[in-house]
Symmetry: none
Subunit: 222 residues, 2 copies
DNA sequence: ACGTCCGTGTCAGGACCATGTCAGCTTCCT
DNA sequence: AGGAAGCTGACATGGTCCTGACACGGACGT
């Protein structure tokens, strides 16, 4: 899953980033509302964790403005358990809220709960060439055949699907698949590309090697 | 990628220059704000690394003045982790900041992140005559035909695309293609120009030889 | 608590290919 | 004609990439 964390306290942000990365999620970090908007403009997220107090505005106002054209679920991080904060959060369109300080396991539980609630309703499938990619189900279908992808393969294909035809370096892919501080060899990417290739073989989607630069997904040919 | 490093400590500057050159980036160095302005007037950059304390002024003031007509992303290099420095940086229009002393790999990660954030959204295909050059995909298309370029050819064409119609000496091209300390003959450039020519033959773009001076890309003719 | 299974990341060995050099050739200028 | 500059086919080389095998650890069921 791909999260966006909007939180200006770097210490707390790092802690959350680390913890969520342990669960295998890709988490981007914005320290302000303007930064959050940049992230949102460039990528789709499954969940947004939004602080209330931010250097350039109030998270609730931001949410109210964005709700019209933003369907991603949002969990608010309220500084204190002030009633005003909590009441406002849900009214503004947040899916849940959690008060600081909070236990990480509780945060994870809230995330799962919100994702379950949202994910059950709308499931969007993406066309990849003639194949049909369902990120939520973790499947790829083509010509009546359906393959199931595992966690890492799924995330890898998600990244490729978001940048079709574009060369993605192994470093870029690592940034998406692993946590910043994760100590992983680039070889891991080679291995996962290999596994993904074997799995999607003959499904109208292929991943080409561009020697020295990275990989590129092609959706055209046979 | 083309970076501008604004840093007055020569020792640190050299270290950064060396490291970034290893990644294949072209990095120019300015030791003061006035020098930085000269560089900015002559060339376009993909990213600027800007120190806070400079002999002729404060990097933040410089950034605040320039932000209106400067859309290049900026990473601030703050001397210490002083809160005043850090808070100011983002408000002044920096895209990110990093505190000295920092690890080179972290600097690289920040650079990647900022570039991804900025450039990730709009896929910029460049028109080269009647051909369409897609640096991210590493392809050149013309009249329904598409050729794939490899690493060195791609970088070479990138350099030419950035200076269309301009004569580029073999030395200039070598500086862009190879690391500073790389021990490469000028003949390598001749070889790569030849390979690139063969690949883009008939695509409305050609590279002319200017005897004794270098090469020049022309986009006009057949 | 224990055992099993599955997903994950590393490693080593090998195949493959982009790369840079060279030598001989062509082209251009004087 | 002669020399200098540039072009190109061929080649050795080193790096990049692929893959089977394996160790590890968490998830899960019993």
């Amino acid at each position: 899953m791909r999260y966006l964390l909007v939180e200006d306290n770097r210490e707390l942000a790092d802690a959350i980033l680390g913890r969520l990365a342990l669960d295998g999620h890709a988490v981007d970090h914005a320290a302000s509302l303007s930064e959050a908007e940049e992230w949102l403009a460039t990528a789709g997220y499954d969940l947004i964790l939004l602080d209330v107090m931010l250097p350039d505005g109030d998270g609730r106002d931001f949410l109210a403005r964005s709700r019209a054209h933003l369907e991603t679920p949002v969990i608010m991080l309220t500084a204190r358990s002030q009633v005003s904060d909590r009441v406002g959060a849900l009214d503004m369109g947040a899916d849940d809220y959690i008060t600081k300080p909070f236990d990480f396991s509780e945060l994870e539980a809230r995330c799962r709960a919100v994702l379950r609630r949202r994910g059950g309703a709308a499931r969007n499938q993406v066309a990849l060439g003639q194949a049909l990619f369902d990120p939520l189900a973790g499947t790829l279908s083509h010509a009546g055949r359906t393959v199931e992808l595992r966690n890492r393969e799924l995330r890898l294909l998600e990244v490729f699907a978001r940048h079709p035809g574009q060369i993605l370096s192994k470093t870029q892919l690592m940034d998406r698949l692993f946590a910043q501080d994760a100590d992983v060899t680039e070889n891991a990417i080679e291995v996962y590309v290999g596994r993904l290739r074997r799995r999607i073989d003959g499904m109208g989607v292929r991943i080409e090697t561009v020697r020295g630069l990275g990989y590129r997904m092609e959706t055209g040919g046979p």
